[in-house]
Homo-oligomer: 163 residues x 2
């Protein structure tokens, strides 16, 4: 079916970069509140996600933090997600994608999802769209028992590589 290649050498932004102090402090705080340790590996994982300009898969994270065992990446990503530091992005890809939570990045955005290869790109929506989405969310909250926590607006189509 889907040839779902994740070429990890594409532009994922900076190489093994350090975490900016301010972000580092905020992440460290959440770790300590959760009574977890802020190890070098975990810092590298967060730094990798912070440096990327799009959600990354576990294999992609593994390339950037190659000292870390794959199983540990899975474990850490799950923990980071529980701590609200990382957020999963669902796509049709074989691999799950992860990105930093928005309250850490201060950068509300949405995704362009390729229906062919599952690749994900970020994009920032016009203010008008955000206003409409928020209004609709409030309305759902009024009309049903579903408690809306956040929203996602995805544009699904074909990325440049898939024509």
């Amino acid at each position: 079916m889907g040839s779902d290649e994740v070429n990890a050498t594409t532009s994922t932004g900076a190489r093994r970069s350090r975490l900016e102090p301010e972000l580092r402090a905020r992440v460290a705080k959440r770790f300590l509140e959760g009574e977890y340790r802020f190890t070098r590996n975990r810092e590298a994982l967060v730094a990798t996600l912070a440096a990327a300009d799009r959600p990354l898969t576990i294999p992609e994270i593994g390339v950037a933090a190659r000292t870390l065992a794959v199983s540990s990446i899975y474990r850490n990503v799950a923990m980071l997600e529980a701590l609200g530091i990382v957020q999963g992005v669902v796509t049709a890809s074989d691999f799950a994608h992860y990105e930093l939570a928005e309250d850490l990045t201060e950068h509300h955005h949405h995704h362009l999802v390729c229906s062919s290869c599952g690749a994900v790109e970020d994009f920032v929506a016009p203010a008008q769209l955000e206003d409409s989405v928020r209004a609709a969310a409030r309305r759902v909250g009024r009309k049903s028992r579903f408690r809306v926590e956040r929203h996602s607006v995805d544009f699904i189509g074909l990325c440049p590589n898939c024509v």
Copy 2:
């Protein structure tokens, strides 16, 4: 017009119903164009999805079409997706969810996705939201090489069952 439905039917909402003739004809046409056979099992599968008011998982489809082997459901759903009859819905659930394609249902809608249990409900968005989304989609088409085919607006949160 005024009623955007947030139908929360019980977990197994689909009854073994027959396919309405008009829809049946349109689906059958696509099968023949694809040189596939419109078997009783496949008709039952489409009927099950048509009768549901939300995207279903493969196990849920299996309950409604219990004569069909699970592997055949997977195979048929994949084929239906390739034919554009069925559309996958990505959630955090362990199971993929599927629904009839929108050009068959004539019923454009979006989803409330439970972040806890992965359940999915349909909801119809206000016209204003749809206008904003379409405008943003056009803008993406202009500003990038990504070819937008469709969009999805999901509200993620907690369903009534998950408090």
